[in-house]
């Protein structure tokens, strides 16, 4: 394709856009109103965030400027917002742990990595990440009370989903079992967990569960919160898996059994792969929801990214710059969520392209409704 044609197609796209915007007089009026509204929102924000902003200096410089954003505050507090109370000299450790987890997630996202090795990689990666954070064997031990910021958010999400996944498959299979005990147990767990807000599950894990342990045995709060997130995620993943299983024709199971495969083998090699592939887009929506919902641990007093941002703004030296802190944390959440959602769309398109015969059934109830917090 020559340069000339590229330019022409680009121009025709612009022309189509303008034509759609100003097709009729009423369309032109709507366009102008929409642009005016956008300008009314964007111009003051740009003036605040860019034109009048203070980039360097301290709180007095910011207060002198008064009408603009104080990015000097974010520069000053970025270390705390990203890593919380983790000792400043050791911040490379949560940095490495977060990088390992992100690498695992990115690797999991690539279809070419979907092999048995992925499970081993997760087991190894999680062990190394937790070890680097926690310390031991020569590294100084940093108790979980000092963990905070982005690594905690990423850890809760990644381990929550990775741990909730096998549990969710077990619950889904249990719920579809024809034996009464697994069916009743799985149904009860899934319905109760999905029926209550995440806060209730966190409260039960942190306030009530420790009472049920033998005297003298105390469990780490972050560990309990992580366990609560795993259980909560498993219930939502179970419903997604179950809807995938429902879309697999029953004759697949019969065919597997007729070939002499056992029930487990048929499930593992024929039914589950098809079921899971069908509902992949729902998994992505659930993942986006959980990335955002881990912020609820603020309420039980743990320091994730949102809580470190909020605490940074409560520093007496920097009072009143909460907007900057929330914008900084919000931008990180936005990038993570938007990247995941984009990936979900890409995956859906790829699946439709790779295997057009397989209709990508996207159960509306799971893909659109984010998991209720």
């Amino acid at each position: 394709m020559s340069d000339h044609t590229v330019r022409r197609t680009r121009w025709s796209a612009v022309r189509d856009l303008l034509r759609a915007c100003f097709a009729t007089p009423s369309a032109a009026i709507v366009t102008i109103i929409a642009i005016a509204l956008a300008a009314a929102a964007v111009i003051p924000i740009a003036r605040w965030a860019l034109v009048n902003a203070t980039w360097f200096g301290d709180a007095t410089d910011c207060r002198r400027a008064a009408t603009g954003a104080c990015w000097a505050f974010v520069r000053h507090k970025a270390g705390f917002i990203l890593f919380g109370l983790y000792p400043a000299a050791q911040r490379w450790r949560p940095g490495i742990a977060a990088a390992i987890l992100v690498a695992l997630v990115v690797c999991t996202a690539m279809p070419r990595c979907w092999t048995r090795w992925l499970l081993a990689a997760w087991a190894l990666g999680l062990t190394v990440a937790v070890f680097v954070m926690r310390g031991g064997l020569g590294l100084g031990v940093v108790p979980t009370q000092q963990w905070g910021g982005l690594p905690v958010t990423i850890m809760l999400t990644a381990i929550g989903l990775a741990g909730g996944f096998p549990l969710g498959i077990a619950l889904a299979l249990g719920r579809r079992s024809r034996r009464p005990v697994p069916r009743a147990t799985a149904t009860a767990i899934v319905e109760v967990v999905r029926g209550v807000p995440l806060i209730a599950v966190l409260y039960v894990a942190v306030l009530v569960f420790p009472l049920a342990l033998p005297a003298g045995l105390s469990v780490d709060k972050l560990f309990l919160a992580q366990a609560a997130v795993i259980v909560f995620a498993s219930a939502y993943l179970a419903e997604a898996v179950r809807s995938g299983l429902q879309l697999v024709p029953p004759r697949r199971l019969d065919a597997g059994l007729a070939l002499g495969l056992g029930w487990w083998q048929t499930m593992q090699r024929i039914v589950l792969p098809e079921a899971l592939r069908t509902v992949l887009p729902s998994f992505i929506s659930i993942a986006v929801g959980f990335f955002q919902d881990t912020s609820l641990i603020v309420i039980i007093g743990l320091f994730d990214l949102l809580n470190t941002a909020r605490s940074a703004a409560q520093d007496p030296n920097w009072l009143g710059f909460f907007t900057e802190a929330f914008v900084f944390a919000g931008a990180i959440y936005f990038c993570g969520s938007a990247a995941l959602s984009r990936y979900g769309l890409w995956l859906e398109r790829r699946m439709a392209r790779v295997d057009p015969a397989m209709r990508v059934t996207r159960p509306l109830s799971l893909s659109v409704a984010a998991p209720p917090e």
């Binding site: 759609a20 915007c21 807000p197 806060i199 009530v208 603020v298 949102l306 929330f326 936005f334 509306l364």
Partner: protein, 367 residues
């Protein structure tokens, strides 16, 4: 005669039940021991004891620290109900408008709405809530309140709206008329008659007692008259409505796009305008696919209203948490919390099940 597989299954299930029972028994025994160590016993008697804590926002029933814990929980429940009812209605309305606007043929309008929806959908609700609460608390004092519209005041005391007096009967009768009108297909002629009678009654009540708008005025210390929403309530409502409306707009858009395009083309070929074909042909089909999702979104909003505890608005979770901390009966308060939300979710689930059956029965389900 049972097959060997069945016998093995029964054995395994019995084993599983036994293990679960043993684990539960062990946990219960530990709980009993830790409670005995703290000098506590399980029971709901504490609900009658005086609460000894304040509740900031009380709607409909008054509350003082001398009142019982049970009454405090009811106040919390009413607050949750208020936020949920207002939130569901507003979020559905805003979400519907945003969803329809995103289907507009005009790229500028579509893009504007999309930008807003994407920002809200990709940031946590709690971040939005904490930000709004902090922003409202950072507003000027009532003397220097912002007045975006005449009669509406925004200050660090919250949002003050004008009160509207004498509309109770009118609203009630008008709502009954709308309900009768909507169920006219089932009621037949009686529905039309009832709707007409109720509409006339509503009109008469509106004329007999015309609604009076009473804006609040500032008296040097505080606002007198008007409806005052505390900063917490205003922030909670705004955050819940924005967040859920963004999700509902996606539901509306998805449902409309799921209607086969031929239906709209046919309607437009018959000479209907774009809006008419949407309202008369596409929406009725899309609504059937939407209703269950709108209901799940409402349930999410109600569950999300529990984030109130993060900003100190006394909803049912917040009050139960305070009561549990104060009295030491956190197991009982957690049980109440779970019972409240679970009964609500199961109620909606059973309602949706019946609705789906109804659709399958009448053959109007959207495949």
């Amino acid at each position: 005669m049972r097959s060997p597989a069945d016998r093995r299954a029964i054995l395994l299930q019995g084993l599983g039940l036994g293990l679960t029972g043993a684990a539960l028994w062990w946990l219960a025994r530990n709980t009993g021991a830790s409670l005995a160590q703290r000098g506590l016993t399980i029971g709901f008697g504490f609900l009658r004891h005086p609460a000894n804590f304040e509740i900031g926002d009380t709607w409909w029933i008054p509350f003082s620290p001398a009142d019982s814990v049970g009454r405090a929980i009811i106040v919390g429940l009413l607050n949750t109900a208020l936020v949920s009812a207002l939130g569901c209605v507003l979020a559905t309305a805003v979400g519907f408008i945003a969803g329809v606007l995103r289907l507009s043929p005009n790229p500028a309008l579509r893009g504007l709405v999309r930008a807003g929806v994407e920002i809200v959908r990709n940031t946590p609700l709690l971040l939005l809530l904490l930000f709004l609460a902090a922003s409202l608390h950072a507003l000027p004092s009532p003397q220097h309140a912002l007045v975006p519209v005449r009669g509406v005041f925004l200050s660090d005391r919250g949002l003050v709206l004008p009160a509207v007096a004498g509309v109770g009967w009118t609203i009630g009768l008008a709502a009954a008329a709308v309900v009768a009108f909507l169920s006219r297909s089932r009621l037949g002629t009686k529905g039309w008659v009832a709707a007409a009678v109720l509409a006339v009654a509503a009109a008469v009540s509106a004329i007999a007692r015309p609604p009076a708008v009473q804006p609040a005025h500032f008296t040097g210390f505080n606002f007198v008259g008007g409806v005052v929403l505390s900063p917490e309530l205003a922030a909670l409502l705004a955050a819940l409505v924005l967040h859920q409306a963004a999700h509902i707009s996606e539901v509306v858009r998805g449902a409309v796009l799921a209607v086969p395009r031929g239906q709209r083309d046919a309607a437009m070929a018959l000479g209907m305008s774009r809006f008419q074909s949407l309202r008369l042909v596409v929406m009725p089909v899309a609504l059937r696919a939407m209703v269950p999702l709108l209901a799940t979104n409402c349930v999410s909003l109600i569950k999300n209203s529990s984030l109130a505890v993060a900003i100190g608005f006394p909803d049912v979770v917040s009050v139960l948490n305070t009561a549990g901390n104060q009295t030491g009966h956190s197991i009982e308060t957690m049980l109440i919390m779970i019972a409240v939300y679970l009964s609500l979710s199961l109620l909606v689930a059973s309602g949706l099940g019946r609705y789906n059956e109804h659709l399958l029965h009448t053959g109007t389900a959207l495949s």
